[in-house]
């Protein structure tokens, strides 16, 4: 649910409120790529990859609005996946059948 909330928020903030410029779109995509790189290999989420690819494709097609929106989504998902990995470093112990 948190993911949904964050991603909706991110999408809402970045999309129709303004028309994104090329610079803004490029920055958003760069931020998303950086966040994705942090996602522990093996816990990259499938929707992160999908959104990132869509953002890069939109950027190449000069669709700044879509690129910025998808990049914001990808970044939010990537950051949440990094949080998940950090939490799980210790949280997994609680689930062990003893």
């Amino acid at each position: 649910m948190r993911v949904l909330a964050v991603s909706i928020l991110a999408f809402g903030l970045s999309a129709p409120a303004f028309a994104a410029t090329q610079a803004e779109a490029e920055m958003a995509v760069a931020a998303a790529v950086k966040a994705d790189a942090q996602a522990v290999p093996g816990n990259r989420w499938v929707p992160t990859v999908t959104a990132l690819k869509a953002a890069q494709k939109a950027l190449a097609a000069k669709d700044w609005d879509t690129a910025a929106a998808q990049a914001a989504l990808a970044q939010a998902l990537a950051l949440r996946s990094v949080e998940q990995s950090k939490e799980q470093e210790t949280a997994w112990q609680d689930a062990v059948i003893r």
Partner: protein, 279 residues
């Protein structure tokens, strides 16, 4: 008074000792694991746990018994037997790479190779055998790899899992890594293997019955109706990851091998039921 103080101190120690407890021995883990599933499924004989959903759901079992009169993995099994018995270009064969000529040994895989310091699965061993004899490695997950492992599993049908953890800190670490993987949540859906195959085992996930983790690898490789083809343990690990919306790791990634090591050891004593068929 003294006893009360003692009890209070003990209680305080328990509450304050928040650090993760030192890992129990693998044997203790296995005993607890097997007890959990025996308690959860009291009607299921221990030896039946290798049959996944069919061991814990009566109507599904009935359908399965019908299908097993003419198992859909038959074609792969024949193909695998022929391939296994065919010599390589250099005149050697698979039998030269394995103990007991490769017959009746599936239940000892995966094992920890103390020479290379890593877990070796049957699939990996098959490809290492091929490469060592000048043959190209097979693709994992399906096709000929599934057919050959199907044949090797068939020769072990009924033999109980007998996985060893040698007295080597690296082996122990591999086991603990596999255990951690099993219990860690991952993917956008935030599930761990345990979420479905321990806490929700026997329950439905859409139209499927979730198989208990105990013995879950015993039936591999499987003909899965969903796939319309054979699949190895790798295939199931990668598709399960995607279903949790976590990017799958490459087949035979060390983390998958460690997971297989953990799951197989937990199932020691459960007879091999592979190759198998699943919905």
């Amino acid at each position: 008074m003294k006893i009360r103080r003692l009890l209070l101190t003990a209680l305080a120690a328990c509450l304050l000792g928040g650090a993760a407890p030192a890992p129990a021995s693998p044997e203790a883990d296995r005993t607890a694991f097997q007890a959990f599933f025996k308690d959860r499924f009291p009607q299921t004989p221990f030896a039946d746990f290798g049959n996944g959903p069919y061991a814990v759901n009566a109507p599904m079992r009935k359908q399965w018994e019908e299908i097993m009169q003419f198992p859909p993995y038959d074609f792969a099994l024949d193909e695998g037997k022929t391939a296994f018995e065919t010599k390589f270009a250099n005149g050697k064969s698979y039998a030269d790479c394995f103990p007991s000529r490769g017959i009746g040994i599936r239940q000892t895989f995966p094992y920890f190779d103390t020479k290379t310091g890593e877990v070796v699965t049957l699939d990996l061993a098959i490809n290492r055998c091929r490469v060592a004899n000048g043959e190209a490695p097979l693709k994992y997950q399906t096709g000929m790899m599934a057919s050959i492992t199907a044949y090797m599993s068939e020769t072990s049908r009924g033999k109980p899992f007998a996985i060893e953890i040698p007295d080597d800190p690296r082996a122990r670490a591999a086991f603990e890594e596999g255990k951690k993987f099993f219990y860690s949540r991952r993917g956008q859906l935030n599930f761990s293997c345990a979420s479905c195959h321990a806490s929700s085992s026997g329950q439905r996930m859409r139209g499927d019955i979730l198989a208990p983790a105990l013995g879950i690898l015993a039936a591999f490789p499987i003909y899965r109706s969903d796939w319309g083809s054979m699949g190895t343990i790798d295939r199931r690990f990668t598709t399960c990851s995607s279903q949790m919306r976590a990017e799958p790791l490459p087949p035979q990634d060390i983390r998958y091998r460690n997971l297989e090591y953990f799951l197989s050891y937990m199932s020691n004593g459960v007879p091999i039921t592979g190759p198998g068929t699943r919905p």
